[in-house]
């Protein structure tokens, strides 16, 4: 049977965001794949050099609608460190609360999407229903469901009232019940097990070699978590655990994410209960001194790195964003080969691709039919004689 070239995306129901794979399949088996990202490329990094810090924060939130707080916080904490600014404890706690709520909403979203990818729409609906509780909390605290805009250089924009804290705390216990239920469901439901177990397996060595980050890496037993390795906000002061798993497949990634959901809910509870009194922002100077910083932040999808360089003005001279999804693509390309077409959506979904973040500045394109060697390029993992290659229509 000749190889079949199946284009997936950019407009495809499995992908809520645009990306393009050209799957070269032999029957139902994938032998090769070519990635094409950057359908959302906007040029944010260029714009970040032209706008001042106050204006950059809302722009950075819109790098991605799901991990919006991550980008803004990573940038704000980097700039604050360059300025030598110590932000008040209450602001740090509030930032942590929003960050962990965001992680919860992102992981719940992921769990729903993963269930949808295997056609299990009921779980999808249930999870997204529970996610609304998190969204309500976020909306109460910040005024918006998606782009919270809580960050300012030097602190946070708005304070939490006792009523908001009480409401948020009252939403946690039912949510924790549901999280336990999902963990139970994932380890006992037949269709979930047969679609998740052994799919997209990656050993610890491979995860290290291909540079996987976040839950994808932690599911393979790679114990990297920027929250613990390079403590920021309040992660160095409060009790919490890094969740890891050893199975390395989609099942493991699901378990890690549900475990993190639990941890996040505990962090949110702790922070809400131990929220210190005091101001919520420090006076920040308009200009940042000359300096550079590598600001690491554990976004829901993995480690986010902002490289910020300032030059004494109120604008950043250079902002270089390395998103977690970009780091994970190499490992996805590796995982997919040898699996069947039916597993593409779930394996791709398992890294929780946030293409909008990634495409902010990346193009990966494979020269068609080139004899390029395997793994390093991250796009062609196994060689094949040039397949019947149609131009993408």
């Amino acid at each position: 049977m000749p190889d079949v070239v199946i284009p997936i995306g950019p407009h495809h129901p499995a992908l809520k965001e645009p990306v393009n794979f050209r799957i070269i399949a032999d029957g139902e088996k994938i032998v090769r794949l070519e990635l094409n990202l950057s359908y959302n490329h906007r040029g944010i990094e260029k714009a970040a050099e032209q706008r001042n810090f106050t204006r950059v924060l809302p722009l950075l939130e819109r790098v991605c609608g799901i991990c919006s707080h991550s980008h803004a916080t990573a940038f704000a904490k980097g700039v604050e460190e360059i300025m030598g600014l110590e932000i008040p404890p209450r602001a740090r706690y509030i930032r942590t609360i929003i960050a962990e709520l965001e992680r919860m909403h992102s992981h719940l979203l992921w769990l729903g999407v993963a269930a949808h990818e295997i056609g299990f729409d009921t779980l999808f609906m249930w999870v997204w229903r529970d996610r609304e509780a998190v969204m309500d909390t976020l909306e109460e605290m910040s005024g918006n469901r998606v782009h919270y805009n809580m960050n300012e250089i030097g602190g946070v924009r708005c304070d939490l009232t006792p009523g908001q804290i009480e409401a948020a705390l009252s939403r946690l216990p039912p949510l924790e019940e549901r999280i336990k239920k999902y963990l139970d469901m994932v380890s006992s439901h037949e269709t979930l097990l047969i679609r998740f177990r052994g799919v997209g397996r990656m050993t610890r060595e491979e995860a290290l070699q291909y540079g996987a980050v976040g839950p994808t890496a932690r599911a393979s037993g790679v114990d990297y978590d920027a929250r613990r390795d390079d403590p920021y906000l309040v992660y160095g002061e409060i009790p919490w655990n890094v969740v890891t798993d050893t199975s390395g497949d989609v099942y493991g990634r699901t378990r890690v994410r549900i475990g993190e959901l639990w941890e996040s809910s505990q962090i949110v509870r702790y922070c809400l209960e131990h929220l210190p009194e005091g101001p919520i922002r420090a006076d920040a100077p308009k200009n940042a001194p000359k300096g550079e910083i590598l600001s690491r932040y554990e976004a829901p999808r993995g480690e986010l790195v902002h490289f910020i360089r300032t030059n004494g003005t109120d604008k950043a001279e250079r902002l270089d964003i390395r998103t977690p999804t970009l780091a994970n693509w190499t490992s996805v390309a590796k995982c997919l080969v040898g699996h069947s077409i039916a597993d593409i959506p779930v394996i791709v979904a398992a890294i929780d691709p946030c293409l909008s973040c990634t495409s902010r500045m990346v193009v990966v394109n494979k020269e068609r039919g080139s004899g390029a060697a395997a793994a390093p390029c991250g796009c062609i993992v196994r060689q094949r004689p040039a397949a019947r290659d149609r131009r993408e229509t």
């Binding site: 001279e317 390395r322 193009v363």
Partner: protein, 159 residues
């Protein structure tokens, strides 16, 4: 290669390539010559267990392009190898043979800054967009969109 890697070891082992200066409590930065990059990465990998590439950052300093390779290992020390490339001839050997994830970052930099990575397995003509004109690198400081030029998308009055 037993035992923990200490900051002193990093400074000691990397001395042959340049002076590693402590930037932050866990981050060291050092300036190296572009042609020694490959050796430096290999040394860091082999002797100091820097097994992960955090990212490759790029900056346009005016006359030069600055590349920063941020390496990290299980000891959680970050080593930033910084090197300067002349603007006229920006090219450097790839490190994607040592660290596979570097490939994807190198492509991105090639696309947006026009820096060539020699020996990269798939560094073909990379574009932001299929119709993006040649020799235009949007993240260079001196780049401005040319209003008379077609950058892709939909042409006026047709598909």
């Amino acid at each position: 290669m037993t035992g923990a890697v200490t900051p002193e070891m990093v400074v000691e082992q990397m001395k042959q390539f340049g002076t590693a200066a402590r930037v932050r409590n866990d981050r060291f930065s050092m300036q190296i010559a572009p042609d020694r990059l490959h050796d430096a990465v290999r040394t860091a990998q082999a002797l100091l267990r820097f097994d992960r590439l955090l990212t490759i950052s790029t900056a346009d300093t005016g006359e030069n392009f600055e590349l920063l390779y941020h390496l990290i290992g299980p000891h959680r020390i970050i080593l930033s190898l910084s090197l300067l490339l002349p603007r006229g001839q920006p090219s450097i050997p790839t490190i994607s043979d040592l660290l596979p994830p570097a490939a994807i970052y190198e492509r991105q930099i090639h696309d947006l800054f026009g820096i060539r990575f020699d020996g990269h397995p798939g560094l073909s003509r990379l574009m932001l967009n299929e119709d993006w004109p040649e020799n235009e690198y949007p993240l260079r400081k001196d780049w401005k969109p040319d209003p008379g030029r077609f950058y892709g998308g939909i042409k006026e009055g047709g598909s």
